[in-house]
């Protein structure tokens, strides 16, 4: 299976690459690249020599893995027992479910159609054993269907690579002259067993052959889908305002969560309109909760944003980010959690003003002052380690440093006087300079260094200002001066 999301034209040789020990190596290719001789596992520089117009893109292996896990659950539309197989395969136990789709042929066509609608290429095969299906899907004919009696006959012309063996074992079998599965089946069982007695599963052709032929059982371990928490109310006739139904929906949802010992981080309210359109509102919470009153209050200011059109007759409330919550009593007198109030307050503020306005600053390890502080909006995450502060820093920092006009006695020295916001400030005392060099690994080339001065003006205000660059440093004209912060 290859991701075909928004891929370029088919006639461009495209490959996905990953970092190898000696530079990037090919992870996956499209058909054009394959026909031009690009091999998976080879180094990109070597393949560029073969195919100079090769386009490369970094592979997202974590993303592919997550997508495959979702696909495992999605494939339950055809059968109840599904599992993932390696990085690019799905196993479906379709025993007894083919007749629902009009037979095995029709089911394979239906599967291929559905996968291609998702933008995925698929190679499908049905066989009585997992090993045989694996081999037929990868090395057999298109949509091959193999029945109980003909496994040995269908497998024998295929290459030994179809036995799910490691590359070294395949190479060994090739050296022994065993190129096809049929040739391997003809070898006396005793000599194979003696040769591979201590080999692991992926290096043992005899065990793999037995699994493919059905002599050795290989059960499919399916994963359990996470329960979906949702409440809905169907209305006898279309209405425009979901508010009267919301408390009941919140109660039902929280009851379901309570019974399962779960809490939710997100809520999604969807109304299904009579004109066939769907409108929804999302709210998020700072900590997982199942308090119906609190969840209801999060929708208070948002309900008017829902577009009801000509009315709607179905409302659903779905919980997202479901996780188990433990009930902890923190105080002996059974008072409510002290943290609970704060998280509920933050939820209300986030729901009212949006997630961008509520944040907390954290210290980050950087010499550049504006990078030494970051704003984090996700209150669920644990606060990161705080860095040790050595230098004296201002207590307020301007978002954008403000340029000032400066008079100075010595070009490299402190300012004598400057004009900021149309007022003249005379420097009475100063400390510095403190030189802060740009972070060359992050900044653009040509970024100038900064010399920071803490100055005190005639009224006693202590200001942090800096000169960007030096005279004749070859990075632009005369250095400019900026105000960056205010001291206590």
């Amino acid at each position: 299976m290859e991701r075909q999301g928004n891929s370029p034209a088919d006639d461009i040789p495209l490959t996905l690459i990953v970092e190898g020990t000696h530079g990037p190596v090919i992870h996956a290719t499209n058909r054009t690249a394959r026909t031009m001789g690009v091999q998976i596992g080879a180094r990109v520089v070597d393949m560029r020599a073969i195919c100079p117009e090769l386009q490369t893109e970094y592979a997202d292996r974590e993303g592919d893995k997550a997508a495959l896990e979702r696909l495992v659950l999605w494939a339950r539309r055809w059968c109840p027992w599904t599992a993932s197989d390696g990085a690019d395969g799905l196993i479906l136990d379709t025993t007894g479910s083919a007749h629902l789709f009009g037979g095995e042929d029709a089911m394979l066509i239906e599967m291929e159609t559905q996968f291609s609608l998702l933008g995925l290429t698929s190679r499908l095969a049905i066989a009585p054993t997992q090993g045989a299906a694996w081999a037929l899907a990868r090395f057999g004919t298109v949509r091959s269907i193999c029945t109980e009696g003909e496994i040995a006959q269908r497998l024998s012309p295929l290459s030994v690579s179809g036995l799910r063996l490691s590359a070294e074992t395949v190479q060994l079998l090739h050296r022994l002259g065993l190129k096809t599965i049929g040739a391997l089946m003809n070898v006396p069982r005793l000599s194979l067993a003696r040769r591979f007695v201590k080999a692991a599963l992926t290096a043992n052709p005899l065990v793999r052959l037995d699994q493919a032929l059905g002599k050795l059982a290989e059960p499919v371990a399916s994963v359990e889908a996470k329960p979906r928490f949702s409440a809905q109310s169907r209305l006898p006739e279309p209405i425009f305002d979901p508010a009267p139904y919301l408390p009941q929906l919140c109660d039902n949802l929280c009851d379901a969560l309570q019974n399962a010992g779960m809490g939710c981080r997100y809520l999604n309210l969807t109304v299904y309109r009579t004109d066939g359109d769907v409108s929804h509102i999302d709210v998020a919470t700072a900590a997982s909760t199942r308090d119906p009153v609190h969840l209801h209050s999060l929708f208070r200011d948002k309900l008017e944003r829902i577009n009801s059109g000509f009315g709607f007759d179905l409302i659903t409330l779905t919980a997202g980010g479901v996780e188990a919550i433990q009930i902890v009593q923190t105080q002996l007198d059974g008072e409510a959690h002290s943290d609970l109030q704060l998280t509920q307050l933050l939820d209300r503020l986030t729901a009212k003003f949006g997630p961008r306005s509520v944040s907390y600053p954290v210290v980050y390890e950087s010499h550049v002052p504006e990078r030494a502080q970051r704003r984090i909006s996700n209150f669920g995450a644990p606060p990161p380690q705080t860095a040790e502060l050595i230098k004296e820093r201002p207590i307020r920092l301007l978002d954008i440093p403000e340029e000032v006009h400066v008079l100075y006695a010595v070009p490299e020295g402190p300012p004598a006087q400057f004009i900021w916001r149309r007022k003249t400030h005379r420097v009475t005392r100063y400390a510095g300079p403190e030189r802060i060099a740009p972070e060359w690994w992050k900044d653009r080339p040509g970024t100038r260094l900064r010399d920071y001065f803490k100055i005190e003006d005639q009224t006693g205000r202590r200001i942090w200002l800096y000169r960007e660059g030096l005279h004749e440093d070859g990075r632009g004209g005369d250095p400019r001066w900026f105000i960056h912060g205010m001291f206590a």
């Binding site: 704060l342 003003f353 907390y360 307020r396 978002d399 005392r429």
Partner: protein, 224 residues
């Protein structure tokens, strides 16, 4: 005339006499970009690990900058809320004051919006006293109109103390505090020195040979 005051090192906040009851205080920086007011507010807050809720309107964030944790000290947990309308700032302050777990609630407002009137400040003061959470309203570029704040300060920077090792450099910061209206204390003026290392505010010791005149009455206030 008792000279006890001169020996007394710790500057006692006029509100903190007796059991600590927190309430609404209003601070007017002398110039809008003066950080002394903010530093004084921070030095008055209870030293706990509970978070400070910090509400800024858009203009004060743009004109006077954002709180910078490297200077304030990373030990304080701060939750910042950036809003555009003064009405929203007041709403947030009022709702946050319900939450007993906060160390303090700080609101910054720019100018004289219509929403900030006697009623609004009265509500904040009552909420703050009910939950015993200190609420500080920093009013940049504002005129001290009618307000129900229990203490109203005008705070500016003063020329700093001498640096022990460097004649040129500014030393420990000094602030001029002007408590011009208060419920529980008599209005007074001080110049104080802030010690960053010990996080403590000391009143400026008067010179020994200084003639005690009009400041005499204000000096007595400090002992109370």
């Amino acid at each position: 005339m008792e000279p006890i005051f001169l020996q007394k090192k710790k500057f006692s906040h006029p509100q903190q006499a007796g059991p600590v009851r927190h309430t609404l205080s209003e601070v007017f920086p002398e110039t809008a970009t003066d950080a002394a007011a903010l530093a004084y507010v921070l030095s008055c807050l209870p030293r706990t690990h509970a978070p400070i809720l910090w509400v800024q309107d858009h203009l004060s964030a743009r004109e006077t900058g954002r709180p910078y944790l490297a200077g304030i000290g990373a030990g304080r947990a701060i939750i910042t809320i950036n809003l555009s309308r003064p009405v929203d700032v007041l709403w947030t302050l009022e709702n946050s004051l319900r939450c007993h777990t906060l160390a303090a609630v700080i609101g910054e407002l720019w100018g004289d919006p219509n929403a900030v009137d006697f009623t609004a400040t009265k509500r904040l003061a009552l909420r703050s006293e009910a939950s015993n959470v200190p609420c500080w309203l920093i009013r940049h570029a504002a005129t001290p109109n009618l307000s129900a704040a229990r203490a109203r300060w005008r705070i500016g920077s003063a020329p700093s103390a001498l640096h022990p090792h460097d004649q040129q450099a500014p030393g420990m910061p000094r602030w001029s505090l002007d408590l011009f209206r208060a419920h529980h204390a008599r209005p007074a003026k001080w110049t104080v020195t802030y010690d960053r290392t010990t996080d403590c505010v000391d009143p400026l010791p008067l010179p020994r040979n200084r003639e005690v005149g009009a400041r005499d009455g204000t000096a007595r206030q400090l002992t109370g």
